[in-house]
Symmetry: C2
């Protein structure tokens, strides 16, 4: 019981530190200090740094799965669910300004390190992609569902990237509105199907 708690504390602290500082720049000492345990105890729970990374990725994956499942159960309207996703940019604005998107930045870092867990990290991005595809399918996007999902996902990632660079609150609000608008309009303007619906 206690051990499970300590283990979870380590994972939580590592999750936060990996997000704020990056995986490579976070040392065992950083995590141990954050949890107030000895390095020896640390190695009882995780034998290598990669093991902690994998545990953190699994936690993030499971956290996001819970989040998406909550939205699925909360609203019967796929457009509203997509809106929840996009509005993360606003809800987590402060952290995004400082540390970027947790998923995007980890994906980038591990890809650069050519780290073995890089593919694991990509699964989180894949989770978002697949969930968005499902939402757009329910929205009646048919064969365009995947393209639209990827568009929303990449758009969000881009906004997060620029948010971190410029820290422009108005920009984030404006872009979120534009994404929601695009979703609501069936997105004819992107050159994706439904040209007849081009509104305004």
């Amino acid at each position: 019981m206690k051990s499970s708690s300590t283990r979870q504390q380590i994972i939580d602290a590592a999750d936060e530190l990996f997000y704020a500082q990056g995986f490579g720049e976070t040392s065992f000492a950083d995590i141990a200090k954050s949890v107030s345990i000895s390095r020896g105890n640390f190695y009882y729970h995780f034998k290598t740094k990669d093991e902690i990374l994998d545990a953190v990725i699994e936690k993030r994956l499971s956290d996001r799965e819970d989040m998406l499942r909550n939205w699925d159960e909360m609203s019967g309207n796929p457009a509203e669910r997509i809106a929840c996703f996009v509005r993360i940019l606003i809800v987590n604005q402060t952290k995004i300004f400082a540390y970027g998107c947790p998923v995007g930045t980890l994906t980038m870092e591990l890809a650069k390190l050519e780290h073995a867990s890089s593919g694991n990290a990509n699964r989180i991005m894949g989770l978002f992609r697949d969930w968005l595809i499902r939402q757009f399918s329910e929205l009646g996007s048919g064969a365009d569902a995947e393209a639209r999902a990827l568009h929303v996902l990449s758009w969000s990632q881009g906004v997060a990237a620029l948010a971190q660079a410029f820290r422009d609150e108005a920009f984030v609000l404006r872009e979120v509105d534009k994404i929601l608008d695009w979703v609501g309009r069936g997105a004819p303007s992107s050159g994706l199907g439904q040209p007849g619906l081009a509104g305004i």
Copy 2:
């Protein structure tokens, strides 16, 4: 002369390594080995690691300025110039798949490190932004020029981020086409002005 050459070799090697491995994961030894010089010689040219970083950022900045200036001189059509910018995603696809966008990833990393040169790195992103604003102004976007510029910039950043995660060549080609389409159409679909022009 010789020294200038060595110094430039160091900057070039550091530029490449910072891109491929990240700033934090690149050591003096890595760069020295890449240039085949001793660490002692290294410290003759750069007293600290931050000094190399600043030199690399200056080089990147100046490289991008040259690139943009070339496009300015090459074509009288702003839309065509913007297209050059967007098509970097295709031209540099291989490297983007592996290392992401050089500008975006450095911006992210330095922001996370809360590094003193973070603001310097952001200047490169700012260079792109300002250049794009100018192009859209010439294109007659008026007061919307900035919003459209930021849209193209964030869109590109997002595509680069997803390209790195999924390595989907078709996705990149498709998104580039969509961006060019959006630029060519005056981008009414994003909710940015000129609604009357919304074609197809």
